[in-house]
Symmetry: C2
């Protein structure tokens, strides 16, 4: 079995981790589970969604794949954060160490992105750079055995890339078909270069940035 640990922590963003989850969980031979500092429910960044971890970091000695989601906790974390410490330790055992959105901030704090190309949510490029990585405006960035994805919804694209890398393109395509991932956004507003200043202002207001 390929062991895949999906990380939860207080104030994670749900779609960051459920995107990869849905692309990985049904693949034959994959053992996918949610992990956190403690077993039990973990609240997302909105306080409206709770998902449960079934294993805690302490009881995990090795993982084939680790996925770290983004969230609203990353601005306050330090090098002693439980997720940072776990990533630093488990990275030595993985086939792939991965992140979605600001999950890469945890990887950077763990010291595994020093001088490497990586991506994150578009609003966090500067922060990633300050932590020693080279922010790259791509949907999915592969550097050695590290894979980082752009903001939130990019985890679906990354999940399919992971399936293709670990099993093969045919399985990845079958999963894409199963989740009917034939995206048709009603607008073309998914990156800062595509929107007017008014949309950016609306976003700043909504999220109190």
């Amino acid at each position: 079995m390929t062991t895949i640990g999906l990380v939860l922590y207080p104030r994670f963003t749900a779609l960051d981790i459920v995107g990869p989850f849905q692309t990985l969980v049904d693949v034959p031979g994959f053992d996918v589970f949610f992990i956190a500092d403690e077993v039990g429910p973990v609240e997302d960044h909105t306080g409206r969604l709770t998902m449960s971890a079934t294993k805690k970091f302490d009881e995990i000695d090795e993982l084939d794949v680790v996925v770290v989601p983004g969230g609203m906790a990353d601005s306050s974390i330090g090098d002693d954060d439980p997720v940072v410490q776990f990533v630093r330790r488990i990275h030595a055992t993985t086939i792939w160490t991965t992140s979605v959105c600001t999950g890469s901030i945890f990887l950077a704090h763990a010291g595994i992105l020093d001088g490497l190309e990586a991506t994150t949510h578009w609003a966090s490029y500067d922060r990633l750079r300050e932590l020693g990585a080279i922010p790259t405006e791509k949907r999915v960035v592969q550097t050695g055995k590290i894979m980082t994805a752009a903001g939130v919804s990019a985890g679906i694209d990354m999940g399919l890339v992971l399936v293709a890398e670990l099993v093969g393109e045919e399985t990845a395509k079958a999963i894409q078909l199963a989740i009917e991932y034939d995206p048709q956004p009603p607008f073309d507003a998914g990156s800062p270069s595509k929107v007017s200043p008014e949309i950016l202002e609306t976003l700043v207001k909504i999220f109190n940035l």
Copy 2:
């Protein structure tokens, strides 16, 4: 406040409901919460993910929006299913009654899709037809105050359409930017018409169809 109830039930598919959740939850003025037959944790169709409902159907007298996700339970449900009964009752109060993937099977059982165009997961068109609806191969179908989305990942597209309908395009675009929904699937295999017979066979094997 616009009240938005996201339905959970045993064997739901996680991305079906987390997609809409992530597009709706941060919108100012929206009160988004998870609801189920009972308050507490609900297991998804893989048994690997647990999310919690904070309100039960019985305590909800009205909703502005209800979202019913798909899952693996729909083939065994009858007209006395708790979700079907809830949809039948709450539909009288909604601005929008919506579904993702095979969530529309519950709507059909509730009798609110009779003779109407609707969509579902591509593998469930026949079933939707048997239940009296007119299956339509579109990503998001609006018929009066009913909105149905195609399989699994289509809930993200539907969520943005809902925000545009309820608040306006500017807010919908800001949310799309916030979740960096600028999809770049590594393959073009998201609908049956786009894949070879081998991919369909792989899918059938993976899901024991």
